[in-house]
């Protein structure tokens, strides 16, 4: 098995799809010869030609509109939005078009072959317009799937599954981990299931849930807790929409305590949706209130990023509070 960072794993997945499917097309701002500002599409234009990997004009609504049309036509568009912070000009095309294409036509047409890749998240001194985690906006839209990988192995397997899934998928890539996260990734083709959470660490006292780059933070908090003899069960949600209620509910039923953490601001974040559902599913098993450890309800800061984020210490405190409730 090869060692890859998260970008290389993404690049490898795209290469895999473009090699097997000559109707797969990658495009976005600076995606062509340059290979994207993070280099996720590096080398693909040389390998597959300018018709299948290309730069677009600087117009996000155009990129996704074009992608919707291509997908409806039967091609496999993999569109990149350079930063998730800049996805909003394309919000209408995603929420009103991609998500509703099949439903509104009675299945006469669909854009199931569409995948939108976009880097999200903070921790890179990117300030308010290079750090956002907008997954909850999209999770509120039936018809979309929303997927977030936590490491290179997950990124390749989940991206391949997203591209081949017959529904439009918004694939959020944790950009803080692009080069920081390195791991073993098979060269060969494999897929990881969408809509399935993964228990990454078994435990008995408390369930911790997160996704994407926040997984690493939660794991660090669990290590601190472990020194206090608190046994944490850690779950990676992986797919935000549709999410795996069963895996999370089973775990919380077992542990009786639950902390969910996200990078995005607290209010109306996806953690709130999870908390409401788990409260309903596991009410009689809960030993303490469900805790949400999230970003604060402010725009994403710059100089005070460290104070703002849902870091391992805040999660550790939430774990202890839950244990002693």
């Amino acid at each position: 098995m090869a060692q890859m960072n998260l970008l290389q794993a993404i690049n490898n997945a795209l290469d895999t799809v473009m090699a097997e499917n000559d109707r797969a097309v990658c495009f976005g701002e600076d995606v062509g010869h340059f290979g994207g500002v993070f280099r996720a599409t590096s080398g693909l234009q040389d390998k597959y030609g300018k018709n299948r990997c290309f730069n677009t004009p600087l117009v996000e609504q155009g990129v996704i509109g074009f992608a919707n049309g291509l997908a409806a036509q039967g091609s496999t568009p993999i569109a990149e939005i350079q930063f998730a912070d800049y996805i909003f000009p394309a919000f209408d095309q995603i929420v009103n078009e991609s998500a509703k294409f099949r439903y509104r036509s009675g299945n006469e047409f669909d854009v199931g072959k569409l995948t939108i890749r976009t880097p999200y998240g903070g921790g890179i001194a990117g300030g308010l317009y290079h750090s956002q985690s907008p997954e909850a906006y999209f999770a509120h839209t039936p018809g979309l799937k929303v997927v977030v990988p936590r490491n290179p192995y997950q990124a390749k397997g989940l991206l391949l599954a997203s591209i081949r899934d017959d529904n439009p998928v918004v694939f959020f890539e944790p950009k803080r981990l692009y080069r920081a996260s390195v791991g073993e990734v098979p060269e060969e083709d494999y897929q990881l299931p969408l809509g399935k959470a993964e228990v990454v660490q078994q435990g008995s006292d408390i369930t911790l849930l997160a996704w994407g780059a926040q997984m690493e933070i939660v794991e660090k908090a669990a290590e601190l807790a472990s020194a206090d003899d608190i046994s944490c069960e850690i779950i990676d949600l992986r797919t935000i929409l549709p999410w795996d209620i069963e895996t999370v509910a089973n775990s919380v039923t077992k542990t009786g305590r639950f902390v969910v953490s996200q990078e995005a601001p607290l209010t109306a974040g996806f953690a709130s949706e999870i908390a409401a559902t788990i409260q309903q599913e596991c009410f009689l098993h809960l030993e303490a209130p469900i805790a949400r450890v999230c970003g604060m309800d402010t725009p994403y800061p710059l100089a005070l990023e460290k104070e703002y984020v849902a870091d391992h210490l805040k999660i550790y405190e939430a774990i202890k509070n839950s244990m002693t409730y």
């Binding site: 074009f66 009103n96 099949r102 509104r104 036509s105 009675g106």
Partner: protein, 410 residues
């Protein structure tokens, strides 16, 4: 069929132009504007209102068969619109949008295309779908949102769509189909198909960001799209002189480096000629074209508005004299391809058929409750399935409140 690899290549000379264009411009040494209306745009007219042809006009490719089919489609369009506006007034359907006075744009557009070409319409182009052969029953079932509607009763009346007839299902948000057409046509070209995409929109929708995004994407990526603007003078109540300051929509084609032509939208022969020319160019060169058809929306925007609040009877009367259907009829009569007896018979038959179809479709059941959750995804996820089970239990508990579905729960 054209060579895909070749047609995607950037023309060397054009490439050089892109970087050297400023050097090739005339140089001046005193500041001076160029005028915002400096591009002069001719308007193509072939057919006069009396049915005669302008001198030196070049006719589109049209024989008696195509002409008759086109005329019969126009007649069907007029009758269906008339009857369905009445049906809405009677409370039988919730909503309707007529295309009175501008039927030539949609019917002529389809007449200038081939069946394999994709039509991505805005909403007032039912004429193109009629030309393709969407049945009266299909129109009715969509408008009555019944269980035989291809769209499964999910969208308001007139949001038609048909995969079989290459007519993309209508979406209410304005202009979203414009960048989509650029992508759809790019895919057609990638596959090396002898096919283009026509994309309809109004002069109002051309103010949306998606218009600019879509035209630029199509121009840069060389998609064989025919962008067809129906400039009918009004966006609901807003006249075009409150919509833009430039020389119509056609002037923008020049800005995007796109072949552009403006036509008399009430002249069916000009519409067919323009679309035939545009199609030939788009397939051969693999590039987009912009057509601006000048017309007038003689009817209301929809059955939900009343034009007397924003324009005069005199203005409407002026445009009634440019009726595109009467114009084509006059030409058909002059050609000896049509006569008054045929006219009377056709219109009577169409009126009877439409009335009869209304009576059938309005009695067909609403879609089954299962259609609430199908097609959101390829398969309903577990949470949606459980919501559906809860709903069914609820309906069973209060059957009187849900009369359409209570007796049909499986």
């Amino acid at each position: 069929m054209f060579d895909v690899t070749l047609s995607f290549k950037v023309n060397k000379k054009e490439k050089a132009m892109n970087t050297d264009i400023y050097n090739e411009s005339p140089v001046v040494h005193q500041p001076a504007f160029i005028d915002g209306h400096s591009v002069e745009i001719p308007i193509l007219k072939i057919l006069k209102q009396d049915g005669s042809i302008y001198e030196n006009a070049i006719m589109p490719e049209i024989d008696q068969e195509l002409a008759t089919k086109t005329y019969k489609t126009l007649a069907f369009h007029r009758v269906l619109d008339e009857r369905m506006v009445a049906a809405q007034r009677q409370g039988r359907i919730s909503f309707y949008m007529a295309a009175l006075g501008e039927e030539a744009a949609s019917v002529g557009g389809a007449a200038g295309l081939k069946d394999q070409d994709m039509i991505m319409a805005q909403y007032r182009e039912q004429g193109a779908l009629m030309f393709r052969g969407f049945s009266l029953e299909n129109f009715m079932n969509q408008m009555f949102s019944n269980e035989q509607d291809l769209g499964k009763g999910r969208q308001m009346p007139i949001h038609y769509g048909s995969n079989e007839l290459n007519y993309m299902t209508i979406s209410s948000p304005l202009g979203t189909q414009i960048p989509q057409a650029a992508g759809y046509a790019y895919g057609q070209k990638m596959q090396g198909l002898d096919a283009v995409t026509i994309c309809y929109f109004g002069e109002g929708a051309a103010s949306e960001g998606d218009f600019h995004a879509g035209l630029n994407m199509a121009a840069v990526h060389q998609s064989p799209v025919i962008f067809f603007c129906r400039n009918n003078g009004y966006a609901i109540s807003t006249p075009s002189d409150e919509q833009y300051m430039g020389n119509g929509i056609a002037s923008r084609g020049v800005g995007y480096g796109m072949k552009t032509l403006r036509i008399d939208g009430n002249d069916i022969l000009a519409v067919i000629a323009a679309v035939q020319l545009a199609r030939e160019y788009a397939v051969k060169e693999g590039k987009p074209v912009l057509i601006e058809a000048m017309s007038y929306r003689l009817g209301a925007h929809s059955t939900s508005d009343d034009p007397s609040g924003y324009r005069t009877r005199e203005e409407e009367a002026k445009w009634q004299e440019h009726d595109p259907i009467l114009r084509m009829k006059n030409w058909m009569l002059a050609q000896g391809w049509w006569d008054e007896a045929q006219e009377t018979t056709l219109f009577e038959k169409l009126r009877d058929e439409v009335l009869a179809a209304v009576k059938v479709s309005e009695k067909i059941d609403k879609p089954p409750v299962e259609d609430l959750i199908t097609d959101v995804y390829d398969q309903a996820p577990p949470l949606l399935q459980s919501q559906f089970e809860q709903l069914k239990e609820h309906i069973k508990k209060y059957p009187d409140a849900y009369p359409f579905t209570a007796g049909r729960i499986k």
